[in-house]
């Protein structure tokens, strides 16, 4: 295993807050929109990580591992908050190809009504309302698709590290990412079309 400065082999919780605190917090804040809840989630994450640290063998990087735990905490939080368990959270991404079935016709062309949208300027991201739309669309993804996407695209973790955290093969990870991207695109298309057309 390649040695690096943040190798987990020297499990060092004293450094966790300084090394990862702000990144974890930023993510939790975006996903919950609440500073206090975000702080609590970071705290729960690091404590859980400490309790589980003996089971961590350095197969994934420390950073990726912590994000994986935070993802669980965020999802627990959403579940607690929801009055009824959200139907969408049932993880159907094994075998089931729900999103692809609804996005495409039987002949493999784009389904009518789910035609893809025109992208607007990237500066839109500086606006709070777009961040809310993104957050909502992310929340609608099945759990493992969301975790895969967040680790990969937000945190830029490499494929092997993501696969280790999710305990899936690289091929399965590709499928999860593909479905996440497809569903996110469709969701953003719906939301933008309703609110503030980007084109």
């Amino acid at each position: 295993m390649p040695e690096s400065g943040n190798s987990i082999n020297t499990c060092d919780p004293d450094k966790w807050v300084d090394r990862y605190g702000d990144d974890l917090y930023r993510h939790a804040y975006f996903r919950t929109g609440d500073a206090t809840i975000a702080e609590d989630l970071v705290q729960e994450t690091l404590l859980a990580a400490w309790r589980a640290h003996t089971s961590f063998r350095g197969a994934s990087r420390e950073r990726t591992w912590l994000y994986g735990i935070l993802e669980h905490k965020i999802q627990d939080h959403h579940r607690r908050k929801a009055r009824t368990p959200p139907m969408i959270d049932i993880d159907t991404d094994d075998g089931d190809v729900g999103i692809e079935e609804s996005a495409f016709e039987a002949d493999g062309s784009w389904a009518a009504g789910q035609r893809t949208w025109e992208c607007g300027p990237q500066e839109a991201m500086e606006r709070e309302e777009f961040r809310i739309v993104l957050r909502n669309c992310l929340d609608e993804l099945p759990e493992r698709q969301r975790t895969a996407f967040v680790l990969r695209e937000w945190y830029g973790e490499d494929m092997p590290a993501c696969a280790t955290v999710l305990a899936v093969t690289l091929n399965h990870l590709s499928v999860l990412l593909h479905r996440a991207r497809l569903q996110l695109s469709l969701c953003l298309g719906h939301r933008f079309a309703q609110k503030d057309p980007l084109s």
């Binding site: 919780p13 004293d14 966790w16 807050v17 300084d18 605190g21 702000d22 917090y25 930023r26 804040y29 975006f30 500073a35 975000a38 702080e39 970071v42 705290q43 690091l46 404590l47 400490w50 309790r51 640290h53 003996t54 692809e100 996005a103 495409f104 002949d107 493999g108 062309s109 784009w110 035609r115 893809t116 949208w117 025109e118 992208c119 990237q122 991201m125 777009f130 961040r131 993104l134 996407f149 967040v150 695209e153 937000w154 945190y155 830029g156 494929m159 590709s174 990412l177 593909h178 991207r181 497809l182 996110l184 695109s185 953003l188 298309g189």
Partner: protein, 92 residues
């Protein structure tokens, strides 16, 4: 051969995603290029994927990103210190 070249939009959406993780083979790249030349919807989807990925990347690199206040950091540091000192014996 034509069958190999003619991709459906569904195939294309998979390849566009896969392309973000690894480089495609020559045949796949060629088939993708040809399809995109003729299909406005898939061209849009390709732009969207790029947009979505960029959007999340931007989130991770905001100009003034929110950060945890020092009191919260100190509190968490203390809790961890507490937890580690209680477990130090069995972890060594």
């Amino acid at each position: 051969m034509m069958k190999r070249i003619m991709l459906s939009c569904r195939d294309v959406s998979r390849l566009l995603s896969a392309q973000r993780e690894k480089s495609l083979g020559l045949k796949e790249r060629l088939a993708l290029k040809i399809h995109l030349m003729f299909c406005v919807f898939c061209r849009r989807y390709a732009r969207q994927l790029h947009w979505v990925d960029n959007a999340f990347h931007t989130l991770g690199h905001q100009k003034n990103p929110p950060h945890m206040n020092d009191a919260a950091k100190a509190r968490i540091r203390d809790m961890l210190k507490d937890a580690t000192s209680r477990n130090i014996d069995d972890s060594n």
